[in-house]
Point group: D4
Chain length 219, copies 8
C-alpha cells in the first residue's frame, strides 16, 4: 500500500502540523485547528490574519499569534532544537517573509540565527556578519527588489543557500519577478530557489538539510 509512502514524506512527524490559512473560511479553519488540537499535536498556521487568530483563540485559548510572521502557533510539546539555520534579509521590509521562515524552522526543531538588513547595497554590513553565517548548516537568504543577497552569500560560504525572493519593491519589480530571476541566474554555486514570498517552503527545505547534517534523517 501507499501508507509507507505517506509515512516517509512526513518531515513533521512528531513535530506537528502546518495549516495554510490564507483564503480558508472561518468555519473550515477552526474545524481543522480543533481537529489537530484534539490529537495533541503541535499546530502552526501560516498566512493567518489577526481575525482568523482571534476566532481560533476563542476555541483554543493557548494559541499564540505573531503579527509580523502572520503565524498562529499552538505548541504543546517541547523538542530540543538541533543544528543551526541562518536566516538573513536584504532589507527591513523582507522581515515578514524571513520571520515566516524562521518561526517555521524553529517549529520543526531547528535552531535559528536571525541576521537582518544586510543587503548588498551596503556590503560592509554583510561582511561584518559573515563569521556568524558560516556557522550554520544552511542559510535562508530573503531579498526583494534586486535580490542579490543570496548570490553574494553563496560566494562566501560553502553550505547550501536557500534563496527566497520577495515581492518587496515597485515598478519593474513586477511582483517579485526581478528578485526571482536574479536568484535563478546567480553565478554563485549552491543556491536553491523557492517561490516568491515562500518563507514556509524555505524553512521546510532548510530543516531537511539541517537534519540530514545532524544525522537525523527524518525519524
Amino acid at each position: 500500500g501507499f501508507a509507507k509512502l505517506d509515512h516517509h514524506r512526513k518531515l513533521r512527524s512528531g513535530f506537528g502540523e502546518v495549516i495554510y490559512c490564507s483564503g480558508k473560511s472561518m468555519d473550515h479553519l477552526v474545524k481543522i485547528f480543533l481537529n489537530f488540537d484534539e490529537k495533541g499535536v503541535d499546530v502552526l498556521g501560516t498566512r493567518a490574519t489577526r481575525e482568523q487568530y482571534e476566532k481560533v483563540k476563542e476555541m483554543i485559548p493557548d494559541a499564540e499569534y505573531d503579527e509580523i510572521a502572520r503565524i498562529i502557533r499552538i505548541q504543546r510539546t517541547n523538542h530540543e532544537k538541533k543544528g543551526l539555520i541562518a536566516v538573513c534579509t536584504g532589507g527591513t521590509s523582507d522581515i515578514p517573509v524571513a520571520e515566516e521562515a524562521a518561526q517555521t524552522a524553529e517549529f520543526f526543531g531547528s535552531n535559528v540565527i536571525r541576521i537582518y538588513d544586510v543587503g548588498v547595497a551596503g556590503i560592509h554590513r554583510l561582511l561584518s556578519k559573515i563569521g556568524a553565517i558560516q556557522e550554520a548548516n544552511c542559510i535562508i537568504a530573503v531579498a526583494g527588489m534586486e535580490g542579490a543577497l543570496p548570490g553574494v552569500i553563496a560566494g562566501m560560504v560553502d553550505k547550501p543557500v536557500i534563496a527566497v525572493p520577495t515581492s518587496v519593491g515597485y515598478g519593474s519589480n513586477f511582483g517579485g519577478l526581478s528578485s526571482l530571476l536574479t536568484m535563478l541566474n546567480s553565478c554563485a554555486e549552491g543556491i536553491a530557489v523557492v517561490n516568491i514570498d515562500n518563507g514556509f517552503g524555505a524553512a521546510y527545505l532548510g530543516t531537511q538539510i539541517n537534519r540530514l547534517t545532524e544525522g537525523n534523517h527524518g525519524e
Copy 2:
C-alpha cells in the same frame, strides 16, 4: 584578508576545477585547461563542443569527452565516492541535462544512481522505482515540458529534491518557462529550484547536501 573567504567557499577543494566552456575562445580555453592541468588537479569542462574537446585533447591527451553531457574530463586522482544522489528525468530528451548533473556530481565525489524516463504521464514507471529513489540523500529531478516530476517525487520522499527545469518542449513551453514555473509553484514540500537546463548547478547543490549528510563538511 579575504583568503579565508575564498578557501571556505571551495566545495571542489581537493576535487578539481570546473570550466564553463560555452562561448570561450579556443585560445583562452586551452590556456585555462593547461593551467589547471599543470597544477595536477582534476578538471571538468561543461557545455563543451566536440571541437573544443579535440583542441584540448591535442594538448592533454588523456582528456575524455562525453557527447551527451557535453563534458570534457581530465581525471588524475581517485577519490572514493560517498553517499548517494538519485538523478531522475521525465523523458529521454532531458537526459543531456541529467548527464551534466550526474557526471558533475560524480566528479565532485558523490555516488549517483540514474533513473531516467519516469515522467508523470505514465506514473507507474515512477512508482516502480520509488524504492531506489528513497535510498538517496537527495534527488535531482530533471524535467521539461510540464515539469511535474519534482513535485510528485517530493511528495513521496522526505529528502530535498533539486528541481531542474529543461528547455525541452515547444510552443507555449517558451524556452523552459513552463517547467520552471511548475517547479516554483509546486505544492509539494522540500523542492529547491535551479535555472533552466542548469545540470551543473543542481549537481553542486546536491553534492553540498550529500556531503553534509555524510558528515563531510567540505574538508
Copy 3:
C-alpha cells in the same frame, strides 16, 4: 436563414439558459432572469454575488444560491441525468472552480462524481481513487499552483481530460499562468485545456462529450 445555425448550437436546448452575472448591473440582471423565468426554462447564473442573488430572489422566490460555486439556480424541470463526468481537484482551494463545473454539468443533465483534494504532491490520494475516475466518460481536472493533476490523470485513463487551471497560488503563479502553461505542455495524451478558472466552459465541453458518448447528440 441563420435560424438553423442558431438552433444547432444550443446544447442547452431543453436544459435551460446560463447567465454570466459578473459585472452586470442589478437592473439588467434581474430583467434577464425574469425574462427567462417567464418562458418557464431553467436558469443558471454563474459568477454571482450573494447580493445579486438576493435581488433575484426578491422577484423569483424559488431561486437558490450556492455560496461556494457562486451559482444562482432556478430549476423547474426535472430531466433524468445521463452518463458520468468525474470532477477532480488538486487542493481544497480549487473547489469553488470545481463546483462551478460540477453544478453546471449537473444543470446540463450529466451525472457528476466529485473527487477533491487529490493533488499530485500526495499521489497515493489520487491512486486510491483512480478506479472511480476510470468509470467516467470524461474527467474535469481542476488545479492551481503547479497544475500537474490533469497530466497525471490523463496518463491513467483513456478518456478525454478537460484541464482547468485555477488562479490559486501566489508569487510566480502569476494569476494562474503557471498552471495554464503546465497543462498546455503536458506530455500526457488526451488533454483539453480551457481558460484559467473557467469551470463553466469545462462543464459545457464535458457535457458535449458525455452526451456524445451516451448517444445523445444534442437533441
Copy 4:
C-alpha cells in the same frame, strides 16, 4: 500491479505506436522504429525530417513519408475507419499542422474531412462549408495569427471544437502566443485548446471523442 493502468491508457492499442522524432539521434530513432516494426505493429513518426525518413527507409523499405505533415508511416494492418473528424484551417500556412492532425487521426482509425483556408477574414468561405462541418463528431480547428477560427466554428456547431493555435505569423504574434490566447479566451462554448502547433495532441483528443461517440470505448 500497474499493468492495468498502462493497458487502460492506450488508445492506440491495436492501432500502432507513435514516435516523436524531433531531436532524436539517428541511431536511437532507427532502433525504436525497428523495435516496433519487429512486433508487427503499425508505426507513426511525427516531426520527422526527410533525412530521418531516408535512414528509416533503408532499414524498413515500406516506410512512407509525408513532406508537409513531416510524418513517417509504416502501415501494415488495415482497420476500418469510423466516425468523422473535420479538420479545418484558417490559412494555407496552417496546413502542415493540420496535416499532422489529419494523418494522425486517420492512423488512429478516424475518418477525416479536410476543410482548409476558411479563415474568418473572409467569413463566406466558412459559411459555405458549415454544412459539411456539422456532420462531424468533433472539429479540429487550426489557426495562426489571430486564431479566431475555432471560436466562430464553435458558435455554429454543437460538437466539441479542438482548437490548435499555430506559430504562423510575425511580430506581435510572439511565436503563437496571440492565437493561443485568442482560443483560450473565446466566448464561444465547447472549445478545447491544445499547445501551439500540437497537431498530434489534437488528433489524439479528437480520436478519443470520435470513438466515444461511435460507441467504441477504446477496445
Copy 5:
C-alpha cells in the same frame, strides 16, 4: 512660430475641448472645466466618476453625465452632424468602452449608429446587421475576451475598421492583452488598432476619417 502647428492639430477646433478626468484632483478638475466654460466652448470630460460630475455640476448646472460612458458633457453649441460611424461591440460588457467612443464621436460632430452584442461566437447576429455596417464611412469595433470582431467585420466591408480591445474577460485575458494581440495579428486588411479600453482614441481617429470622407478637412 509654432502657433501654426498648434492650430493645425486641433480636430476639435470649433467642437470643444476634451478633459481626461481620471486621477485629477477635484480642485484641479473643476478649475479646468470652469476655464473652458468661460470661453463658451463645449466641453467633454472622459473617465469621470459620478463624484467628479457632481462637483462640476455644482459650478456648471447644465453639465450632464452619462453613467455608462463615464462622460461629463457641457454642450452649448449645436453643430450639424455629418457622415456616419458605426460603433459595434462583441458583447454587452464592452458597451461602456463603446459608449465612450460613440458619445465622443457625436461630440466631435459625427453621426453614429450603434450595433451592440454582435460577437463572432454567434455570427448570425453580425451577418444580419452587415448591411447597416456597410453604410458607415468607418467602423469602430469594440471587443474583449478573444477580440475577433474587428477581423471578421474588416473581411466584410471595405472601410477602415478601428479596433478597440477591451479589458473585459478573466484569466489568460491578462487585462486585455489577448484581445489586443488578436487585433494586431488579424489577417483581415484595413484594421487600425488603438490601446486597450481606449474608446476616446478610437472616436478621435474615426472622426478624422469620417470628416476626410465628407470633404471636411478639419476646418
Copy 6:
C-alpha cells in the same frame, strides 16, 4: 448569397492582387502567380526572397523585384495615382518596412511622398519636413527602437497617422515590443497602430483613407 460581401471587401478590385510569399513553397507560389497573370490583373508579391523572384521571372519575364522592399511586382495596367500618403521613418534601418508600405500604396493607386530618417532623437530633421507631411491625406510613420515618431507627428498634423512599429533594435526591444507599446500608449490623438513590421497592412489602411478622402469609395 455572400458574393456581395466578397465584392464589397475588395479594395484592390481593378488594382490587382497581393500575394504574401513568405513560407510558400516554390511550386505553390509560381502556380498562384501564373494563375493571376493569366487573368491579366496586376500582381504584387510581398516578403519575397530573391530566389522566389527568380523562379517567378522564369515563367513571367516582366516580373520586377525590389531588393529592399522584398517585393515582386507584375504591373500591366496603368491607373492614374490619386491623393497623397506620406511615408516617414525614424532611421535608415526602418526603410525596408517603409518601402513595403510605400510600394504597396503606389500599387493600390496612391501617390506617395517618402520622408526617411527623421527620428525624434534629432527633432530638427522632422521639423524641417513638417510642411510636406501636412500636405498628405494620411501619414504612415515607421519606427523601431523607441518608436516615438508617430506620436510626435500626430501632434503636428490633424490627419490620421498609421503607426508601424519595426523590429529594429536590440536588447530590451524584444523583437519590436518596445516600439509597439510606445505607439499604442501615445498621448497624441489620431494614431492607428498595425502589427510589427507590417508595412503592407499600413499601406492598405492608408489607401482606404486616402481614397475616402478623394471621394473614391472603393469603386
Copy 7:
C-alpha cells in the same frame, strides 16, 4: 575596516537622511524619525501617507508635508544650493513623481527648475522651453504612457538626461512597462534610466552629477 567605505558612499553627509516610509509600521517609522531628529540632521521621508505625517508631526512639530510629492521634511540646516537640475514632465499626471525628484534634489542641495507638461504630443511646448533646459547641468525627464520625452530632450541638449518612466497610463501601458522600454531603447545618446516612478533615485543620481559639475565631489 569598512567604515571608510560607508563614509565614502554617503552623498547626503551633511545633508540629512532619507527614509522610505512606504510599508513601514507607524511605531517603527516614528522611532526612526525621532532617532535622526535627535542627532539634529535634516530628514526627508518619501512615499509617506498623510496619516504617517500626522503621527510624525505629533512628535516633531516642525515636520512639513507635501501632499503631491508625498514627502515629509524636517529641515533644520540651511545649505546654499548649487548648480542646476531641470525637472521636466510629459503630462500633469507625472507631477507627483517629478515633485518627489525635485524636492529630493533640493533637499540634497541642488537648485531645481521645474518645466512641466511639455510632452512630445505637442512638441512646440517643449521647443519653447528648450533654452531654459539647456542651462541645467543635467535633466530629469519624467514621463508615463509612451515615455518619449527623455529621448527628444536628449537629442536637443548635451547633458545627461535621467529618464524616469511613470506608471501613468492604462491598458497596454502594463504598469509603466511601455514607458520604461521606450526609454531604454531610445536612439538618442546620453540617457540614464531609473526604475518606474523612482523620482528619488533620479534625484540622487542627478545630484551626484550636478555636484561633480560644480566641483563639489561629495565632501
Copy 8:
C-alpha cells in the same frame, strides 16, 4: 533655425563620428566611412563584423579593428585624454560589451581603467579593487546573468554608476531581462541603467559625466 540645437547636442564635436555598422549593407557602410574620412574626422564603427572591416580597410588602409569589441577605428587626431572612467565586468563573458564601452570612451577622450571579472559571487575580488574604482569620476559596471555588480559597487562609491546589463547567460536569463531588472531594482543609490549590451550608450553617458567633472562642458 535648429542648427543651434544640432550643434549643442554633439558631444563628439572635435572627437569624430560613430557609425552603427550592424545591419548596414556593405555599399552603404563603405560610403559612410569614406564620407567621414574625407572630412578628416576620426571615425568609430561599432557592432562591425570582420568582413565589414576588411571591406573598409580596402578603401581606408589605416582603419584598425578590434575583434573583441567589434569596433573599426580610424584615428587621425590625437586629443589628450581627460578624467577617468572605470569599466568593470562581472565575468569574462561580459568583456566584449565592456570593451565596446571602454574603447568608445577612449575615442571620446576619456581615460579608462579596466577592472574585469570582479563579479559578486566572489566578492573579495571586487573588494581588493575598490580603491582603484573610487578614483574614477564615474563607473561603468557591465554584468550578465544576475547583474548584481552595479548595485554592490554603487554601495561602495559615491560617483554615478552606469549599469550595463548583458545578454550573457541562459535559461531564465531571457536574453538579458534578468540582469536588466536587477539593475533597475537595485536598492543602492546612484545607478543609471542603459539598454542590454549597450556598451556604446554607457560610454557616451560616461563621457558626458566625466567631462562635466573635468570642467569641460562639451566645447
